[in-house]
Symmetry: C2
């Protein structure tokens, strides 16, 4: 166990978040940096300060930081002036004020990076209008479930794509989507067209590949498509061919790329809005909590294979 | 030879334009409609009124209309209130005022639909800023040569892609591009990267497929990509797989579809600007004129195979 140096704190982690971007980082293809053999795997953590040599932190403070896949970590305060990607990937710790009625773990999901991703993509970029059809892939996941609910709260008709009947039912019953298509059924592309009879006005894509191709086949005129993740590529060692772009032309559609780091300065705005929605029943979330850091590799493999349901959080034992 | 009915004129064609969209129309995949065996092939024509039963036209008037691949056609006046796609595909004829110093055929190319396509894509959509790198495929063609020159006149650094050394030389020497890459050289993708050392800020794509993939590999941050045509697909009986969209995400790029019909109301504005530029040496164009309607099938096959150089116009003999 290391001792903190001047300006550092020692943190005991209680929660570790697992996110798909880690798969790209392991493959050396993520903008946050390469992970090499022997490195600690990256990841956002919540924990308590157990030793402090920084005047901004006291023992017992609850903090959020990028502590990685380990039980304890050392951190300083964030460097002054960090913004965007530097702020998002900062090695510094922040004292975490947990709102009454909100579980701590939500700050790694709905009220953290995945939720901010959904907020930026829906509110700042796709901007669905009342009555429009809003489609999102991985609809039961951390980003997708938040994106769909934000769009619904803005008045859109929301359709999801998920991978099991149980996920689809939850997406409709708990997240309040209007429809959800099971992409593991043989006729799911026909189901998708049937669920979007007026076409898709806005598509929030976390999957790429086959799901993006299917969505491009259902576009309404002047549809907007947001590329936010490429799960199908994260799992592949090859660079996959992309979808046919013909319908983008014919439908005068627009494709944009979303990188959440560009929106990091909006985190407080999103947390305030989401906390209000959460406490007034306008927003729900689902977590897949796994106890024990030693379960993280299996949980991560399940996450990347689409076998998890909701935001994956590792609860770290004392 | 038919006689005009009340409200119609009989036109003898002098010029027929050949354009790539006709290939999709023949395959039944174009938004302007299907061409069936026995139908007259569509196409924009210039000609003279040789018999008039419409008060708006006199014998001898020069008119522009969609007369198709034939020596003569009947037409009425455009229907009142036609706009957008209906105006672009109108069966009506317009009296054509040819500006002093401008060749008649230019109204089928630079001052017609292909020129308007370039104007809408560059001025209204991609909006290159001074010093930005602007890339265009099929750079010696009707749309590409106009697009690159408009971008140059707006202050951009302009790079083209063309298919022969002769085309590349013309693109640089006559159209005033800063560079032009020959896509039939084995290392052309490396040449493209070398020609765009700061990355591509705006890409005007008329090709799709391999050229779009190559451009996506050279994007600057927040690049804009405009899909205007998919020549590689027009020639294929299969729907081709599209390019990998990963760089669109990482570079926060934006992809949009351009359909010139949406910009038809801007034709007069474009013609005024282009005529001024043309007469003051700020705009050039190249035509591939073929004499004789019977040459149209061969000329069209050459156009679709990339063997032509400049806007293809059929000069129809008396």
């Amino acid at each position: 166990m290391p001792d903190p140096e001047d300006g550092q704190v020692l943190i005991r982690h209680s929660h570790l978040s697992l996110d798909p971007y880690m798969g790209s980082a392991i493959k050396g293809r993520h903008m946050s940096g390469k992970v090499l053999p022997g490195d600690v795997l990256p990841g956002e953590t919540i924990g308590h300060v157990i030793a402090s040599r920084h005047p901004g932190f006291a023992e017992g403070d609850r903090v959020i930081s990028r502590g990685g896949w380990q039980t304890h970590s050392l951190a300083g305060a964030p460097a002054a002036g960090e913004a965007g990607m530097a702020a998002a990937l900062s090695s510094g710790a922040h004292v975490l004020d947990v709102a009454d009625g909100v579980p701590v773990s939500a700050y790694l999901g709905l009220l953290g990076m995945p939720g901010l991703t959904a907020y930026a993509g829906v509110v700042e970029m796709l901007a669905p209008r009342p009555g429009e059809t809003f489609l999102v892939s991985a609809a039961s996941g951390a980003v997708g479930s938040a994106a769909g609910q934000i769009a619904r709260n803005m008045g859109a008709r929301v359709v999801g794509i998920a991978g099991t009947p149980e996920k689809c039912a939850h997406v409709i019953d708990v997240f309040g989507f209007d429809a959800c298509v099971n992409r593991n059924l043989p006729n799911w592309k026909a189901d998708l067209r049937a669920a979007c009879p007026a076409g898709v006005d806005a598509y929030f894509d976390t999957a790429g590949g086959d799901m993006l191709s299917a969505a491009l086949g259902c576009l309404a005129m002047r549809a907007r498509i947001l590329l936010c993740g490429m799960m199908e590529q994260y799992n592949s060692d090859e660079v996959l061919a992309g979808p046919n772009l013909g319908p983008v032309l014919a439908r005068r559609a627009r494709i944009e790329g979303l990188v959440v780091y560009d929106h990091w300065h909006r985190m407080e705005r999103w947390r305030a809005l989401a906390t209000d929605w959460l406490l007034t029943g306008r927003l729900a979330f689902k977590e897949h909590c796994v106890v024990g850091l030693e379960q993280a590799p299996t949980a991560f493999a399940n996450l990347m294979a689409g076998r998890t349901f909701g935001k994956t959080i590792i609860l770290i034992k004392d």
